[in-house]
Amino acid sequence: MRLESTRTAVTETLLEMAETDPNILLVCADSVLVIRGRLFAERFPERYFDVGIAEQNAVCCAAGLAACGFVPFVATYAGFISMRACEQVRTFVAYPGLPVKLVGANGGMASGEREGVTHQFFEDLGILRTIPGITVVVPAEASQVREAIRAVARCDGPAYVRVGSGRDPVVFEPPAPPFVLGKARVLRAVGREVALFGCGLILNRVLEAAGELEKRGVRATVVEVHTLKPLDVESIAGLLADCGAAVSVEDHNIIGGLGSAIAEVAAEEAPVPLVRLGLRDLYPRSGKPEELLDAYHIGVTDIVEAALRVIERKRRPARAGRPTA
């Protein structure tokens, strides 16, 4: 498996944008190494701030800078942004609609890998998705992080971009398909028996599972939902209705993230059977990323089995209200 750093992609893109846009700033909370930000700090020392291990203040400080016309990127671990500084994000970034751009590293269990639960963040998307006014993006690989960073810098208001460990799988053969903020995109459309929705650094597994299904004669459509908010409800509802069965796959708690988002659309717009794959509301262990994903049932075989199961449910719907005895 080829790897490329989604963290380095952040700083490279910031450096590139900062050359032409004097408003781009980088705010760290002793996270400059986390985000591979040394190059930015050296190139633009006056536009780089490190407030120390103090995420709440990093977000406040960025909000103050943004209120004076700057576009600060706050980059540190995903959980310290979404949990430690959650209230600052909500009240002083999202509520006033200030253009603070948050970058969360170690997004997902696998990105936190051997560090253990304190550094594995699988609640960030659910937490931030409930806050009004934040764009939430979950890129699938480094090239997509570059696209996402450029896109959120261009859009007004607050945004969150989730990145990984720095040893992140490459999914797309270049050139990657076009990235449009706020749009779900079909990556592979063999057929409409089941829709496989995925986001983030596990997308390679979803694509592999679709290939495996095809070998078994099952025609799946793979949909990448890289923007969880604003959610592309129209496309998702259309795909749900067309396929009549769906699986969601994410490196996140199945509560609050992509699976919940798809379930919300399904319930309101296109009720079809759905299986959510992700962490099943538990704390994982330390381990190597690929082993963790397999151990916690976000493996290729899990996706294949979930697809077969949900297609079966589509064919033989359980009758609601039927007595069980």
């Binding site: 407030v51 709440q56 406040c60």
Partner: protein, 275 residues
């Protein structure tokens, strides 16, 4: 500043205190004690010290103000209205659905509010960002943050206090409305915060201690704070919660409480005069 000018500010503060009590009485909701303790500080800033232009609330070079103790906002709203940011007729609408005057300050709804506030502890970090922005842009403005004293129990206060010194931000002044009380009682009884002064000194801030109800002292301290130059400044302003209304002074039940019709009349009589 001349005696006449000081007397003018004292009179403005009296009018703002009347506005505060009336607003909370009419709204049937609000924090009179914390608002009254901060009135003289807010008046000194908005009517004398700050470089502002009410006809251009977004003027990039204006001095910035953050009311970190956002629950005292009736005092700020009254000052903004009397300074001409919006009509006085807005004041009675406080906290009502159609009003521009939210329960706590909202920078997008009320002209003149530089920063949303109300959740305690965050004003200094927000002000630090504004001060850094001014330095980066080469703009000659100062940033003033008014905090409560109980509010200093929040950890993020000291995160910001550290960073402000590390960045040697000279144009950031924090004024602590040190009335000694917080929601649950005396600050000294609730927490281990007291003594406050050595904490700021240990964090490296330029510190002054004043009577927060003495207009001359407030203006002098603010003028000195502006000149410090190479580090942030804190003014520990000793105040009385409920200042100006004798039956509210020092009575913490007025932290959040609405004056009845009789109490309202008594308060207005105590505050004296017309307006």
């Amino acid at each position: 500043m001349t005696d006449a000018a000081i007397n003018g500010l004292v009179e403005t503060a009296r009018l703002i205190r009347r506005d505060v009590v009336r607003m909370i009485h009419l709204a049937g909701d609000g924090h009179p004690g914390p608002a009254l303790s901060v009135v003289d500080i807010v008046t000194a800033l908005y009517f004398a010290a700050m470089r502002i232009d009410p006809s251009r609330p977004q003027w990039p070079e204006r001095d910035r103000f953050i009311l970190s103790k956002g629950h005292a906002c009736p005092a700020l709203y009254a000052a903004l209205a009397r300074r001409g940011y919006f009509p006085m007729e807005e004041l009675p609408g406080l906290r009502s659905l159609p009003s521009m005057l939210q329960g706590h300050p909202d920078m997008n709804k009320t002209p003149g509010i530089d920063m949303t506030s109300g959740s305690l502890g965050n004003g200094i970090g927000l002000g630090l960002g504004m001060a850094l922005a001014g330095r980066l842009r080469g703009l000659p403005y100062d940033t003033f943050v008014v905090t409560g004293d109980g509010e200093l129990e929040e950890g993020v206060v000291w995160e910001a206090a550290m960073a402000a010194c590390r960045y040697r931000v000279g144009r950031l002044t924090v004024i602590v409305d040190h009335n000694g009380m917080q929601s649950g009682g005396a600050v000294e009884a609730v927490s281990g915060l007291v003594p406050i002064r050595p904490k700021w000194e240990a964090f490296g801030w330029h510190l002054q201690e004043i009577d927060g109800h003495d207009m001359g002292q407030i203006l002098e301290a603010v003028a000195l704070a502006r000149r410090v130059g190479d580090r942030p400044s804190v003014i520990l302003a000793h105040t009385v919660k409920g200042k100006g209304v004798p039956f509210m002074e020092g009575d913490n039940s007025w932290h959040k409480r609405v004056p009845t019709r009789e109490e309202f009349a008594a308060a207005m009589a105590a505050l004296g005069g017309e307006g």
